[in-house]
C-alpha cells in the first residue's frame, strides 16, 4: 500500500492529521500549477483551498486503484477552470512593456521578481485551454495519457493545444525581437 493510500485509510478511520500529510506532500506542486494557471496568488490560494477541501469531502469516494495524485490533480484542474471562468476578463497585470524587453531571455542573468512577473504575464496571455495544456505538459511534465485522464480531453487535442501554446509563445518572442 502506498503512503497516499495508507494516509487515506487513516483519514477514513477518523485521523484528520493524516490529511495534513497528504496536503504537505502535494501542496507545493498544486500551488505552482494554480499560480501559473490563474496568474495571481489570491486566486491560486482560493483554488488550492477549494481543491483540498473538496478532495477531503470526497475522500470516501476515492478509489484505491486510482493514483491519489492524479485524482487530486483532476480536482485541482477543475477548480482552476472554475476560478478562471468566473474571473475571465478581470485579470489585471501591471508589468510595463519595457520590462518585457529588459527581461528577455538573452539578457536575463538570474531569477528576479521581474522575471517571475514576466513569465507569468506571458503565460496569462495564452488562451486558458492552451495554457492548461502547456503547464501540464511542460511544467508538471505529465504524459499526454495522464493529461487526458485528468482533463477528459483526447490525446490528439491535447497535443494540438500544447503545440499551439508553444507556437504562440514563439510568435510572441519574434514580435518582441522585431519591435
Amino acid at each position: 500500500m502506498s503512503d497516499d493510500a495508507a494516509d487515506v485509510q487513516r483519514v477514513l478511520a477518523g485521523d484528520v492529521d493524516a490529511y495534513a500529510a497528504l496536503v504537505d506532500r502535494y501542496y507545493d506542486r498544486c500551488a505552482r500549477f494554480a499560480v501559473r494557471m490563474l496568474g495571481n496568488r489570491d486566486d491560486a490560494e482560493d483554488a488550492l483551498q477549494a481543491t483540498f477541501v473538496r478532495a477531503y469531502r470526497a475522500l470516501d469516494r476515492y478509489q484505491e486503484r486510482d493514483r491519489f495524485s492524479a485524482w487530486l490533480y483532476r480536482i485541482l484542474v477543475n477548480q482552476c477552470r472554475s476560478v478562471a471562468a468566473r474571473r475571465a476578463h478581470r485579470e489585471r497585470v501591471f508589468v510595463r512593456e519595457e520590462a518585457l524587453l529588459a527581461n528577455a531571455p538573452d539578457r536575463s542573468q538570474g531569477w528576479t521578481g521581474e522575471d517571475e512577473e514576466f513569465v507569468q504575464r506571458v503565460l496569462n496571455e495564452l488562451d486558458p485551454l492552451l495554457r492548461e495544456a502547456f503547464l501540464l505538459k511542460y511544467i508538471e511534465e505529465m504524459s499526454y495519457e495522464e493529461m487526458s485522464a485528468l482533463t477528459g480531453v483526447g490525446v490528439s487535442a491535447l497535443k494540438m493545444r500544447a503545440k499551439r501554446a508553444c507556437d504562440r509563445l514563439r510568435e510572441r518572442w519574434e514580435r518582441i525581437k522585431n519591435d
Binding site: R81, R90, P105, D127, L129, W173
Partner: protein, 200 residues
C-alpha cells in the same frame, strides 16, 4: 515534442515557470483549518458493498477456444429464442399484463432537459458555461449547424446563470435571455429559469 524540441525562448519560459512558488505563509494552515471544520469522511457500508460488488463486475479479459466460443454463442441464441417464445403470443404481440415501457409519468427534476441555441456563423468552437457545469470551459461543447450552435443539457429546477464562450476567449451573453446584474467586476451573465419538469 520534448524540451529539446522547444525553441530556446519557450524552453526558458518553461524552465522559469517550473520554479517553486510561494503563497502566503498562512495559506497551508488556512487549508487545514477549513478541512478541520468539515465532517470527517467515512467509507459508508453501501460504498464498501459497492466496491466489493465492483470487484466482481469489473471487466476482465479472458480467451476461449473456437469450440467453446461456438458452444457459448449457440447457447445464447437458444436462450434468446426461448425467452422470445415465452414472452410473446403466437402473432408476435407482447403477452398481456406486461407494463408498457414508458410507464414513468414524470421525469425526475434533474432530468429536465434544456436546449441552448446561439447564432455565431464565424465561430470555430462554442462552449456553454454556467453554474450548472461549474463554469467549466471544456465540459459542454456545442454543435454547429448552419451557423447556429446548440446543445441540450440536463438541468435542475431554479435560476441559473450562463454564458457562451466563443473560440476559447470571447464571452457572449444570450441575446434572447435576460441578463443577471453586474457581478461587480464589469461582467454580466445570462439567466435561465428552469421550472420543475419543464423542457425547452
Amino acid at each position: 515534442m520534448t524540451d529539446s524540441d522547444l525553441s530556446p525562448y519557450v524552453e526558458w519560459i518553461a524552465r522559469e515557470a517550473r520554479r517553486p512558488v510561494e503563497l502566503d505563509a498562512g495559506a497551508r494552515d488556512r487549508i487545514m483549518a477549513a478541512v478541520r471544520a468539515e465532517r470527517i469522511p467515512r467509507r459508508s457500508f453501501v460504498r464498501r458493498a459497492g466496491n466489493t460488488f465492483h470487484r466482481f463486475v469489473e471487466p476482465r479479459a479472458f480467451t476461449l477456444s473456437p469450440a467453446w466460443s461456438t458452444l457459448l454463442a449457440a447457447g445464447l441464441v437458444g436462450v434468446g429464442v426461448f425467452s422470445g417464445a415465452v414472452m410473446t403470443n403466437r402473432d408476435g404481440r407482447p403477452t398481456a399484463g406486461q407494463p408498457p415501457v414508458a410507464a414513468v409519468s414524470q421525469l425526475p427534476v434533474s432530468d429536465t432537459f434544456v436546449k441552448f441555441s446561439f447564432v455565431a456563423p464565424s465561430a470555430k468552437e462554442v462552449y456553454l458555461v454556467g453554474d450548472f457545469n461549474d463554469w467549466d470551459l471544456s465540459r459542454t461543447p456545442m454543435a454547429q449547424s448552419g451557423g447556429v450552435w446548440t446543445v441540450v443539457v440536463p438541468m435542475t429546477a431554479g435560476r441559473h446563470q450562463y454564458s457562451y464562450v466563443v473560440d476559447g476567449k470571447s464571452w457572449s451573453n444570450d441575446p434572447n435571455a435576460p441578463s443577471a446584474p453586474d457581478d461587480g467586476f464589469g461582467h454580466t451573465n445570462s439567466v435561465k429559469i428552469v421550472g420543475r419538469g419543464s423542457s425547452s
